[in-house]
Amino acid sequence: MRTLMKTTWVELKLFAREPLTVLFTFAIPFVVLFVLGGVFGNRPADPHVYRGFGILNYYVPAYIALVVAAIGLIALPVHLAAYRERGVLRRFRASTIPVWSVLGGQVAATFLIGVLASLILVVLALAVYHTRSPQSLVGVLAAFFLGAIMFATLGLFLGLALPTARAAQGAGVLLWFVMMQISGPGAPPEVLPTALLRVADATPLKHLVVLMQDPWFGLGWNGPEMLIVLGFFVVAALLTIVFARRS
């Protein structure tokens, strides 16, 4: 436990020392939010689009999911693949620090950074655009927790499976970008062709977006979506274990 806290703290410090990653993590969702807010304002709800909740209301929980996905799919795998590529993981392996603490520290750091980025996003959205605040805070927090851990685990798997940091970057950005477009945080699901919606169903982000939005808008806890997100987590965790043993 002490080791896990140490590795988490070190990972947080290392993250803070990467100006570009910090900028990317904290700034992009905002920029998009402000552009949207500038263009549309928080228009009154149109029942045919944005699940009937109004554009900015719709996007706030979706962007939280998007931030979590960015850290899990891009920042974490690139970082971990670089560790492997450069022999950092070997160095840790040969020390008293168990590899699980190193990986655990990365997950924990990812989670905490996700919390911070989401808080900033929510506070700004509430303050500037008076978006709807979460109807069920417990539900939103639970969805966030599940989603962040799921994406961080997925990130571990990518970081262990991809051969180089460069490959991890390529794969991560591609996955993230595609998901951003079709899984909810981009075009509203109502305007997407059915074929793309089917593809979106296969992405974890789509299910996390709904899992976040439902309690946020007072639709209650979405059990089926929770099971799907948990399913992604279990698969990612199993793959992580397999690859961690192998590397």
Binding site: R17, R86, G87, V88, R90, R91, A94, S95, T96, I97
Partner: protein, 302 residues
């Protein structure tokens, strides 16, 4: 003084390549044990198996009484490792690395002492990526020692160090030993091995071709002598019939007589008798380096 490391018929293959081919040796408590050998000999593979970083394909190993693979997490707490190739996160600072690798909280004075010892005191706030190659190397040794291990493995620890840092490192390695820590030292450098090691195993193509004290390794071959001089004239093949002479080689006006023991005295006397008085007559004994090259060369021919 008991046995700290016991290796019997250690075997390791990478695909079809046999990297370590049934190697056996023991390391005694408190000694500096050397593994010497050319590139690709299997030294790193051997010590990585001993540290539980690689799974051996065959053979028995005990390090501090533990099975290095099955009990690697217990072993980890009792050994220190400096790997031939590794790195730390670019932006990790020197003092943070020491803190991270210390199993128990490192007191400020203990940390400062390590930094001081390894010449890193003024680099404590420098990030890993800004350290020079030699400074990184020294940081890795400091990290290997931070938990007061019973055995340390040093794999090419002085590679990339300047001559002064090399000497300092040698002194520090001797200090490690004086504190009672056993050291396994992988090296390419004869002077290093000669200076530091109580015993050394010469490894080539995954096998141990010799294992002894550095002095005895030289001595065994030091019976061999080469007598050299210049001579322009008739062939001197008759020298071969002298006692202690093994072979005579003449290339141009350069003569080399190979033999052992008192070969020089016999050759000199015989030459004098025939009125041959070369003014550059001299005898050479092999150095550890030549002994090494000879051993390594010999097993190459097999």
């Amino acid at each position: 003084m008991g046995t700290v490391i016991e290796v019997q018929r250690l075997h390791k293959e990478y695909g079809s390549l046999v990297a370590v081919d049934d190697v056996s040796f023991q390391v005694m408590a408190g000694e500096i044990f050397g593994l010497l050998g050319p590139n690709g000999a299997g030294k790193t593979t051997t010590v990585e198996c001993l540290q539980g970083l690689r799974h051996a394909d065959g053979g028995q190993m005990r390090v501090l009484g533990l099975d290095p693979w099955k009990e690697r997490s217990s072993l980890r707490r009792r050994i220190g490792s400096q790997l031939q190739e590794s790195a730390l996160p670019d932006r990790l600072k020197v003092w943070e690395a020491l803190d991270l690798f210390a199993t128990t909280s490192l007191s400020r004075s203990a940390r400062e002492q390590l930094l001081e010892q390894w010449g890193l005191a003024d680099k404590r706030n420098t990030s890993f990526s800004s350290l020079s190659g030699g400074q990184r190397q020294r940081l890795f040794v400091a990290l290997a020692l931070v938990n007061q291990p019973e055995v340390v493995f040093l794999d090419e620890v002085t590679t990339g160090l300047d001559p002064a840092a090399r000497r300092t490192t040698w002194d520090l390695i001797e200090q490690i030993r004086e504190r009672g820590t056993t050291v396994v030292l992988v090296s390419h450098f004869m002077d290093e091995v000669e200076r530091l090691c109580q015993r050394v195993a010469v490894v080539n193509h995954g096998r141990i071709v010799a294992l002894d004290t550095p002095a005895r390794l030289v001595e065994q071959r030091a019976q061999q002598r080469r007598v050299l001089f210049h001579w322009e004239g008739e062939p001197l093949s008759w020298l071969e019939s002298l006692p202690h002479v093994r072979a005579v080689q003449q290339q141009g006006n350069q003569v080399e007589v190979q033999g052992d023991g008192a070969v020089f005295q016999h050759v000199a006397a015989a030459l004098l008798q025939r009125g041959i008085e070369p003014d550059d007559l001299r005898v050479e004994r092999p150095t550890l380096e030549e002994v090494f090259l000879q051993m390594v060369g010999k097993s190459d021919e097999e």
